[in-house]
Subunit: 220 residues, 2 copies
């Protein structure tokens, strides 16, 4: 029985990695939809979210099923609960990519991102993609060091987020209210996406070490 | 042993209700801080969030401790995992009240909310307060009917959220970019707050009936 149990745990881990791949792909396309006003990409992200939600539901079902059938011990229970949380975080990240895609769709055929913000949004997208890719590697490899790297990426995202606001609120801003509203919200979506990626990695660190990253940092 | 176990489950439920009270109070003060540019209220919300986070951490500790010591059966495990989720939702709702309070603080001594939006923001705040108060009642009473009422409140919140944007994006808008940025984000915080309140109530419905509200609605 224990072997089947651990096979099923591996299955959950594989599904989480698959979610990171789908979320990364959704984010890549959402950013390009925003920058290039590409309606087809936007629709792909919006239509593709069901697949991410479906895997989240499958993971939840497997976790509750394992809990019911196997009476796992404390450490394994913690792993299962943590898997649920990671799945929830990844599901939200998919939703945030959808929000970005919907912004692109609403503004089509124009781009929602004025020229002077294109590079910043491109960079925010690249950091977001990197963070979810790293989260996937951390889940697959249980690499605690890599897991703790995401904090630095998150700081970089916060810096870009502040620059976005500085530009919008400067007297030189020529684009008026509507793009500012879109970009405020888009900035928030990127920031939340990064936060969720950090949580995913933190949860792996927690499973492996039994400690939260902030506790590990205090020890160093 | 089972009696102590159920006492501890009741203790978790009491803590969740206490969280709803603290979150409601934080939201009330945050909205008044926004409308009246009241710095003292804003600081209270920002400083008070630790208490909400502390209860969230206590619930998590109790849940993992119960799982480890009591080897609960499937139904009880589901209740415990669901309690963790509710606690997480309420913790986020506290954060969203803090975001609103920080917006008020950043704009002080001015109000972040222009006169023509004060009534809408007041109403959004009232719905938010009602939703978290209802969520608290639903946790305490396990009242499934009341739990299913929150969807209607959420719809009302969405309608106000859309009106907020309609006014900001109308040609009559005179307040420029900076208030529009604040209000876009504030609107998003209210909307997310309502979503989390719906999730809390849904989770109670799930514990009591074993079904998600959308499944119950399909049966009706």
């Amino acid at each position: 029985m224990r072997d089947i149990y651990h096979e099923e745990l591996d299955g959950i881990s594989d599904k989480l990695v698959e979610m990171t791949r789908l979320v990364r792909s959704a984010m890549t396309r959402a950013v390009n939809a925003l920058l290039d006003a590409d309606l087809r990409l936007a629709e792909e992200v919006i239509g593709g979210d069901d697949r991410i939600n479906k895997i989240d539901a499958e993971i939840e079902e497997t976790v509750f099923d394992l809990m019911a059938r196997q009476q796992p011990v404390a450490g394994d229970l913690r792993t299962l609960v943590t898997a649920l949380r990671m799945s929830g975080d990844l599901e939200r990240m998919g939703d945030l990519a959808v929000h970005l895609a919907k912004t692109a769709r609403r503004r089509h055929p124009e781009s929602a991102i004025p020229p002077e913000l294109q590079v910043i949004v491109l960079e925010m997208g690249q950091i977001a993609e990197r963070m979810v890719a790293k989260a996937g590697s951390v889940i697959a490899s249980k690499d605690v060091e890599l897991g703790m790297e995401l904090d630095a990426d998150d700081d970089a995202m916060d810096r870009l987020h502040r620059r976005l606001f500085d530009i919008m609120l400067s007297p030189k801003w020529q684009h008026g209210v509507e793009p500012a509203v879109d970009i405020s919200l888009a900035g928030r979506y990127f920031e939340r996406f990064a936060d969720h990626a950090v949580h995913v990695a933190e949860n792996v660190v927690y499973i492996v070490t039994g400690q939260r990253p902030e506790e590990l940092n205090e020890l160093n």
